[in-house]
């Protein structure tokens, strides 16, 4: 029978103490591990979705909102940019911009956002096709992997979009032509998995229809539909550059610079000071977001550390009070030949066993909650979260748990090793 085995038996002999200690320890470890899991994955996703974008240009408003809506597809868009005013940015021969990808946001299909853009958007996330091809004609869409999976979308499926970013049957563009799925993307781990991508002109086509409908009486519906068809056809045949649609609007532009020179760096300030638009730098805004979120995270972390401290204290107290009950049997073990070091190890192992069990309960707790949270987080952050990721920080937590177990046990262990056989056993007379 090893010392470890005897420690284990001793712990099992006090099941209520064991449960209390495990619950506390697991809560502390679980909370810290969960924070890490969410944090690391969030940061990873945020970073992945930078997609090399240097600048986002959009309507004036909150720069953070612009970044969140255009790069992460989280918030509502800030407003519209008339193409007539944004023309300069759309120039393919722009001296500073390597590329400027237009985005038209604001519609969705069953909760998944539809992005009107060009094919550069798909290249941005280096998305590959699982099936089908790029959109060429108006109303053709390419869907991200998660959308296809969750809505069970296949090639050649058709659907009508809804106005706004939430699922609401009353807001479906019933009178517009349906979108047709021509391509399905492979999973990339970035935000495009959660998007439906189409040409900018498709979004305009849907909304033209919509506004006409609002303005004109039902009698003209037939005529108007015909007119629109013609209009669409005209657009296809000519396939004009975006800048020629002077009466239209887009939501924002994702800009990559040719190089990081002074002109490029001044670009954002120039846009903010001299145009009706704003330019936001993703890195700056996301850092600002981390700072904002960081306060809550710090508070949670502090709470988790407090719980771990309390659990260490609880292990200490239960070991210490168990010594009082066990002082005779400890003394008797000494008379049977046990060395003081034997009793020291016995108690230290008890602390370590509780800490290690608590650690594994905590890790199970955090990964278990991650499974439950993943669904919720996927909806609110538009990213897939995984519960099966194990971080190297979790090994550090394991080390920390061992240290706490040892520290909590060291004073009781020392006391046990100092058991005075004679005083203890002579004291128990009659």
């Amino acid at each position: 029978m090893s010392i470890l085995h005897l420690s284990w038996k001793n712990i099992l002999n006090k099941p209520l103490n064991l449960v209390l200690n495990l619950v506390l320890f697991a809560l502390g470890v679980g909370l810290i591990s969960l924070l890490l899991l969410v944090n690391v994955q969030l940061e990873d996703k945020f970073e992945k979705n930078f997609a090399g974008i240097d600048l986002v240009i959009g309507a004036k408003g909150s720069p953070l909102q612009l970044i969140l809506s255009s790069l992460y597809h989280l918030d509502a868009p800030t407003g519209n940019m008339p193409v007539s005013e944004a023309k300069a940015f759309l120039n393919p021969k722009h001296p500073i911009f390597k590329s400027a990808i237009p985005l038209s946001l604001g519609d969705s299909h069953r909760g998944y956002r539809i992005v009107g853009t060009n094919t550069g958007f798909i290249d941005l996330y280096t998305a590959k096709f699982a099936d089908g091809k790029l959109f060429e004609e108006n109303m053709e869409v390419v869907v991200g992997a998660t959308v296809a999976k969750n809505l069970n979308i296949k090639l050649a499926d058709e659907f009508k979009s809804s106005h706004g970013l939430i699922e609401d049957e009353n807001l479906v563009h019933e009178d517009a032509a349906p979108f047709k799925v021509v391509g399905i993307l492979e999973k990339t781990g970035s935000v495009i998995d959660q998007l439906i991508v189409t040409k900018t002109q498709s979004i305009w086509a849907v909304h033209d229809e919509h506004s006409h409908e609002a303005e004109e009486s039902a009698d003209h519906k037939h005529n108007e539909a015909e007119h629109n068809l013609e209009h669409d056809e005209a657009e296809h045949s000519e396939d004009l550059p975006l800048s020629s649609y002077e009466d239209k609007s887009i939501t924002s532009l994702l800009v990559k610079f040719k190089g990081r020179n002074i002109q490029a760096l001044n670009m954002a300030r120039n846009i903010n000071e001299n145009t009706n638009f704003q330019a936001a730098t993703p890195a700056i805004e996301i850092n600002r977001l981390y700072t904002l979120l960081g306060v809550g995270e710090e508070a949670l972390k502090a709470m988790a550390l407090l719980i771990i401290f309390v659990s260490g204290l609880s292990i200490f107290i239960s070991l210490f009070s168990s010594l009082r009950e066990r002082k005779y049997e400890l003394a008797v073990m000494r008379t049977l030949g046990a060395r003081p070091g034997f009793l020291f190890q016995l108690i230290i192992f008890e602390g370590i066993i509780i800490a290690v069990l608590g650690y594994f309960c905590g890790i199970a707790l955090s990964h278990g909650s991650m499974v439950l949270l993943a669904d919720f987080l996927e909806k609110s952050y538009r990213y897939d979260f995984s519960a099966a990721i194990f971080l190297k920080e979790e090994i550090y937590i394991f080390g920390g748990s061992l240290v706490i177990g040892i520290i909590a046990a060291i004073i009781p262990a020392f006391q046990a090793s100092k058991t005075d056989i004679h005083a203890t056993l002579a004291d128990n007379k009659g």
Binding site: M333, L336, G337, A338, L425, A426
Partner: protein
């Protein structure tokens, strides 16, 4: 052979207790009597190596307690001395069998379940082998204590008030079992008590004043 020479012990701030020189041959069974405060338990602890004397020394065989390290003395005690206290104080988290296996292990003996079962059989508690000690009656617990004291076949068995917590029937049984067990392993048996029920059973008696 157990021999104590010129033994005395002084508790801090108290007068020292001087013990008469004492010799017991292998197989001897002694009763040590005396009123409370006469130092019976102190003597027993000195003879068991649980306590170091202020003066004098104890030898068991050719082994002198005073001349060896604490670690060696612990090991020697585990191998050669069995002690029965007023209560068993068995390890509560272990079954009777596991307690005796632990005793074998701490005494540096090979683990032998069969030997333990035979012993428990003789002590009439074999059916309690897998019970936790706190499920046993006081008499049964003292039988476990006897089993623990003799399982390593020690040269010396010390018993400190082994029967004073027991009723008459159990007292007689435990006393007999103790004597038989000591005989079976040919150990010296020293029983310290103020329990008069034991006096008639021992021919060799030492009276402390």
């Amino acid at each position: 052979m157990l021999k104590s020479i010129n033994l005395s012990f002084q508790y801090s701030g108290s007068t020292s207790i001087r013990f008469p020189d004492f010799t017991a041959e292998q197989g001897d069974q002694w009763l040590i009597l005396g009123p409370s405060g006469s130092g019976k338990t102190t003597l027993l602890h000195l003879l068991g190596g649980l306590l170091s004397p202020t003066e004098g020394n104890v030898t068991l065989g050719d082994f002198n307690y005073a001349t060896i390290s604490a670690a060696k003395l612990d090991k020697f005690r585990g191998e050669n001395i069995g002690i029965v206290f007023q209560k068993a104080h068995a390890v509560q988290s272990l079954s009777v069998m596991e307690n005796l296996l632990l005793t074998q292990q701490l005494g540096g003996k090979s683990l032998d379940k069969k030997k333990i079962m035979d012993l428990l059989e003789r002590l009439q508690i074999a059916h309690k082998a897998n019970q936790k000690p706190n499920r046993l009656s006081a008499g049964e617990q003292q039988r476990v204590a006897i089993a623990r004291a003799v399982v390593n076949q020690p040269r010396l068995i010390l018993a400190d008030e082994p029967t004073s917590a027991l009723d008459d029937k159990n007292s007689t049984e435990v006393q007999n079992l103790l004597k038989e067990s000591a005989e079976a392993v040919k150990a010296i048996l020293l029983v310290v008590t103020h329990d008069n029920r034991l006096t008639s059973a021992f021919h060799k008696q030492l009276l402390l004043k």
